[in-house]
């Protein structure tokens, strides 16, 4: 059995860990509450904007995704939106594993957002063409460099984390270009044409700018949504770590009391033995 003083020292360390997980759990909980409200507002905004965007009809040949034709036009880009830091449970791991199921290095380039995802890819020796930091913010970030980087790809699939509830976060994918194109073509919204609507500037110019705006908004939305899912995952990971630390503290305290009792029993035995020996020696003298 280990010494009680050693167990006591380890218990103190676990108490510190329990305190830290408690703090991280509270921070994550606050972050979830704050970001959730913004995600909901932003979703409503996006849906309203989508409704208007889908009323536009333009020639598919003039689309943003049909321009910049070059040799890379046959390739696919995977955008992986991960957390900037660790301590967010296994959600980034699931994200990368999900992405790797469809990954073909010959036809696919990976663009990673977030240091944690980049680190996970490096560990698996998966190369990525671009890396972007995701600032710890609950506002939209400027995604124009990402949009600029994906214009030359035939297909762009975004892998992101979706907040379902505090306890459940899913991995989702969205085909950015196809979604923007198809939803615009299949929309229920009445068509706004140059015959019945005044467009300033022209319909083509508006459509071109709207398409880029919608792609930026869709990407920003997924980044924001991922941030919420990561905060929820962090909350769960910290709650689990706190529970585990509490259980360990109980076990350690039990072990500590056993060790204490054992040490005290041993000391008592030693005293008894020494007393017996003393008596024996005294008896011999008599």
């Amino acid at each position: 059995m280990r010494r009680a003083s050693a167990i006591e020292k380890e218990t103190e360390q676990i108490v510190t860990v329990e305190g830290l997980t408690n703090v991280f759990e509270s921070i994550a909980s606050t972050q979830v509450a704050r970001v959730k409200n913004k995600v909901e507002l932003s979703k409503e905004f996006f849906q309203l904007l989508w409704q208007r965007y889908t009323s536009l009809r333009v020639d598919p040949g003039a689309r943003i995704t049909s321009r910049n034709a070059d040799s890379e036009r046959t390739k696919t880009a995977f955008i992986v939106i991960s957390a900037e830091a660790g301590l967010s449970g296994d959600i980034d791991l699931r994200l990368i594993e999900n992405m790797l199921q469809s990954y073909d290095p010959k036809t696919t380039d990976v663009i990673v957002l977030g240091s944690h995802g980049a680190q996970q890819l490096q560990q698996r020796s998966v190369p990525y063409t671009h890396f972007f930091k995701v600032p710890e913010t609950d506002s939209y970030i400027d995604v124009s460099p990402v949009i600029e980087g994906i214009k030359s790809y035939a297909k762009v699939v975004v892998y992101y984390e979706e907040y379902v509830s505090l306890g459940v976060q899913d991995i989702k994918t969205i085909d950015l270009i196809s979604t923007i194109r198809e939803m615009s073509e299949d929309a229920d919204e009445d068509v706004m044409t140059a015959e019945d609507t005044i467009f300033e500037p022209s319909l083509d110019e508006i459509a071109e700018q709207m398409e880029e705006t919608m792609m930026m908004m869709a990407l920003s939305q997924t980044i924001l949504e991922s941030g919420l899912a990561q905060a929820a995952s962090r909350f769960n990971a910290m709650a689990l770590a706190k529970k585990r630390a509490s259980e360990m503290i109980s076990d350690y305290r039990l072990e500590f009391h056993r060790a204490k009792r054992s040490e005290s029993d041993r000391r008592l035995r030693e005293v008894m033995v020494s007393l017996k020996g003393k008596r024996k020696r005294q008896g011999v003298r008599r």
């Binding site: 913004k38 507002l41 932003s42 409503e44 905004f45 996006f46 309203l48 904007l49 208007r52 536009l56 506002s139 939209y140 706004m192 019945d196 609507t197 005044i198 467009f199 300033e200 500037p201 319909l203 110019e205 508006i206 700018q209 709207m210 705006t213 930026m216 908004m217 920003s220």
Partner: protein
Amino acid sequence: MKHQDQSITLNVIARAPFEVYYEGDAKSVSAINAVGPFDILPGHADFFSILSEGDVIIETGSNPVTFSVTNGIITVRDDQVMLFANM
């Protein structure tokens, strides 16, 4: 050009991604696009425009709602105005 009736008001939704500037009835909406400043009144033709940087003023009948935009989109359809700002 549609006939303007004083009793008809616009239904306005003015939002940024994380902010609702105004939602409700209004008498007019004023903003700026590449052509210059413009006003939307009830009965305005269907309209779709990209906003330029500047102030947007929504006349609600009581206190006007004013906010600044750096970019945005405004659409008018059957007296419903949707304004999306600061994207």
